[in-house]
Amino acid sequence: MADFTRNEMMTIVAARALKNDDVCFVGIGAPSAACNLARLTHAPQITLIYESGTIGTRPNVLPLSIGDGELCETALTTVSVPEMFRYWLQGGRITVGFLGGAQIDKFANINTTVVGDYDKPKVRLPGGGGAPEIATNCGEIFITMAMGKRAFLDKLPFITSMGHGPTGKERRAYGTKSKGPTRLITDMCVFEPDAETKEMTIVSIHPGVTREEIAENCGWTPRYAAQCGETPAPTAQELEVLRDIQARTKAAHAA
């Protein structure tokens, strides 16, 4: 088994979840790396969309922002931002939306707005951006987040984007037709929602990670699926392609 970091494992697992015919709404960071890794390995036909308006983009380096010039230069077409949110996201054209965030709860609701009181915040986070509507208008949602007690919380101070709702029942109650978060991919394990309760449940543990470690980094007592197995380790090819694009990216952005 090749040497790999937990962050690499997270990105690689996210990439594996993507299919050739997916249309992905990509965020910056882990999602962008995962989507482009998928494109450069098993899903060459995947369509990547960034909210800047670039559709079907094929960057050679990962963008620092969602609007880097390379995204537009390699895109099939670039539309205005109002059109992107109206025709493409709200239009129901996206199969997979990627989200991340500062804090998450067991029903995959996410906070990226504030820590503390909204009007007198302890920490003012960036805010929702596209997330509130990505969460409900994409076919399904994949979330990538590194685990930790300050990130995986029993109760969020603020819901920026809805997962399955505060008690797991609200999404269905709203009549939202999209599936919501179907995968929460962390640096330690993979969660999927329980069919009944919608609580995010661990379905596979990354190589070298223990249940104790997961418990220490989770603000609630995590449930495990009956057939919880081990996540297949990164292949040499996966690691090579990922490291290659990240090296190119680092060189490009430092220039």
Partner: protein
């Protein structure tokens, strides 16, 4: 009706204390030179509208231009926090900053409604989230056909809309290409407009029938400012200065470092100083 003038004059004529100002450009074509000129002219009590405040509003907020911020994502893209914005919201430095917070979809729709001369926009959004609890501008309407309840936001109708574009022709017609964001909407929704451009040309020579062109009778002041979008970029002219975005994290983290940088790079400079960036980062 388009009128060519220097940027200092354009800002002096169009941006007044207390105005609601929208400066757009989604990562691409952010009008930094215009923002610096507003800072130099010491405008106060502005309400700043922008989807992603980015470094431009971080600088304006840190220099005390703004009383209020209307936005949907306030960070340094791919890097981290906009520290001056955070310092204003968390600690009231250099002054209290009121915020009106939306989602990207709502902001984009609000500009779209403004351009379309509608008083509000309807979107399938804000479902199951807390933002409507802290933003009373978010309301709803019921579809007269299906009974579905949809979110609404009021249209953006800024006093001044400011954008940066690739080029204008001698008549003042303006061309934007690449990531066009919501700039067309901002110009059409605003009472007054300022457009800074990389280049003034004899003829636009738009590359296709359907290019994004703003006719001269839809824009107000046009100022020729080479490099005026730096550290953002102008497709076809120069690249995004990603290393500056990374460097800003350190510059902006500390109040004194920030003020020293602003003094040296903004207060003591003129719009012409932007030209060097265009040359350096040429695409």
């Amino acid at each position: 009706m388009a009128k060519f003038m220097g940027l200092a004059e354009a800002i002096a004529q169009n941006v007044r204390d207390g105005d609601t100002v929208a400066m757009e450009g989604f990562t691409h074509l952010i009008p930094f030179a215009a923002g610096h000129e507003i800072i130099r002219q010491g405008r106060k009590h502005l309400t700043l509208i922008r989807m992603t405040p980015d470094l431009i509003y971080d600088q304006m907020i840190g220099m005390g231009c703004a009383d209020k911020l209307v936005f949907s994502w306030g960070g340094n893209p791919g890097v981290g926090s906009t520290h001056r914005m955070r310092d204003a919201v968390e600690n009231g430095w250099p002054n209290q900053l009121a915020i009106e917070e939306h989602s990207h979809a709502a902001m984009a729709n609000a500009y779209e409604a403004g351009a379309a001369n509608l008083p509000f926009a309807v979107l399938r959004g804000y479902i199951g989230v807390d933002l409507p609890k802290v933003n009373s501008k978010i309301k709803s309407v019921t579809c007269p056909y299906t009974g579905e309840v949809l979110a609404t936001v009021p249209a953006h109708r800024p006093d001044v809309g400011i954008i940066h574009a690739q080029r204008a022709d001698k008549e003042g017609n303006v061309l934007i290409e690449g990531i066009t964001g919501c700039q067309k909407e901002v110009v059409l929704a605003s009472k007054r407009t300022i457009v800074t451009v990389e280049e003034v040309v004899e003829k636009l020579n738009p590359p296709s029938f359907n290019s994004v062109v703003l006719p001269h009778w839809t824009v107000g002041a046009i100022s020729h400012v080479v490099g005026g979008a730096h550290p953002s970029y102008a497709q076809g002219y120069y690249k995004r200065d990603n290393s500056f975005y990374i460097a800003w994290d350190k510059i902006s983290r500390d109040r004194d470092t920030f003020l020293a940088w602003m003094k040296e790079n903004v207060l003591e400079k003129t719009p012409e100083a932007f030209a060097v960036h265009a040359k350096k980062g040429s695409a």
